[in-house]
Amino acid sequence: MAGVLGGLPDSVLSFAYLVAATLFVLGLRGMTHPRTAARGNLVSAAGMVLAVGITVLWFDILSPLVLLAALLVGAAIGTWLAVRVETTEMPQLVGLFNGFGGGASALVAGAELVDRFGSVGSTAIVPYDVTAAAALAGIIGAVTFWGSLVAAGKLHGLLEGSIRYSGEQGVKLVVLLVAVLAGGYLVVQPGSFGAVPTADWVPVYWLLVFAASVLGVLLVVPIGGADMPVVIALLNSLSGLAAATTGFVLDNSALIIAGTLVGASGFILTTIMCRSMNRSLADVLFGGFEESAPGGEEVDIYEGHVMSTSPEEVEMLLDTARRVVIVPGYGMAVGQAQHAVAELAELLVADGVEVVFGIHPVAGRMPGHMNVLLAEANVPYEQMKELEEVNPTFPGTDVVIVTGANDVVNPSALTDESSPIAGMPVLHVWEAETVVVNKRSLSPGYAGIPNPLFANDNTYMLFGDARESMQALVSEYKRNH
């Protein structure tokens, strides 16, 4: 049973996997700077080609046509999705790809079990570490697949935002218990001690996968809007862990190393996203935001204090500004305003104004969402500043333009301990000379709370759609310069 390269010693295969793993690590290292990141991605891809190529050539492929067909179909789907996607649809595509990886891992673990149970005969026992790893891979993979599909559906607007129901946690617990019990059954393989053929226990794996699938759906269904960056990062981590556990099933070092790298990456991103909202992962997954204070109060804080402005007036403010900070939020993505915003920045820079973008880690629907949109609109990465970097600079800033963001510039995170977002790191835009907030209305953001910033003495509201407002601002600026 040997493929084209099968005559070579086993260590050659292991060595090729080691080289592939090294290329993955080097590729990720390239991602530590925007200038080297594209090359890093190619290095990582080369590692993948090596790992897959050597596997195809090494082992005896009994059905090469099936394999070739599958590879072509998969490559066609991947290419088609990647080429036709708009930048604004990126979060759901990333979510979808996460799911594919997880789903594939669950299927591979299943196929291996079918193979093992089929070949060892009716009484032999498949090693416990193999069945345990398969059970884990099945659970993690199925949760990842269905969770990602639901997340992608939500991001694409196919599913409603946040769905909560009573007894929700109990239902999830029961489903999890079914999956875990099925997993335990697989590990112990009680049938193999008696006359029952072990192959009869294979359906238990599918029961496990089914329960985990339901769990994946139930876990993500209640999570809405602004919590999506956490979900995307978590699913990213899980897709890696699914691959790593499948590596334990197959005793394959490439899967273990590569899968673990991804698991670690997703874990770090999840932690960063949670910290940026000052919430725990459990709170995001199971908590949701509590109902906000009664409505009367909310209206009062705005009453008589909100000053609305026009593109003409904002243009006059910009005329005398020397430093401008633009704070984008999800509204910029929805309105596809990034090109107008970038053009405004470019015009200002050309007139000698210092312009930076202040980007909150959880702005948008996935980690780094705003950065990708702005990069697409040709904003140089040097202009994109992280929260810690931009916050100390607000007192020296003449004008802040907030477009499509709300909770991430809410001062009550610092001042009101009873606020649902208390303790969340926010952008201190109010410390600037003047703040212009571009928003459709005074409606609350995802956290469902009013924003005292809108009623500040140095805040002007520029009501309207992000793109229309920014385009109006651009043409107004061009007319006067």
Binding site: A70, L93, L261, V262
Partner: protein, 94 residues
Amino acid sequence: MTFVENLTLFVLAGFVGYEVITKIPATLHTPLISGTNAISGITLIGAVLAAGSGSSTLATVLGFLAVVMATANVVGGYLVSHFMLRNFGRRRGD
């Protein structure tokens, strides 16, 4: 390899991943996600073996589906990252 040897790889790779990835700036987090996404498509190796082994029809069918999903993940993930990163590397006016 034994289970413990595999576990050793798992733990060490976890630390390497942690050290490397904490150095990646927030501005690249989306391409990082899609790039690591593509890496998690490494499960394609296992899928290739399952699809090509021809041991049973069921294993072949599962393998086929797994290869399709994993390949879509790998190819799509790297391509999407590539398109995004091309934007980041580009300077204004290019």
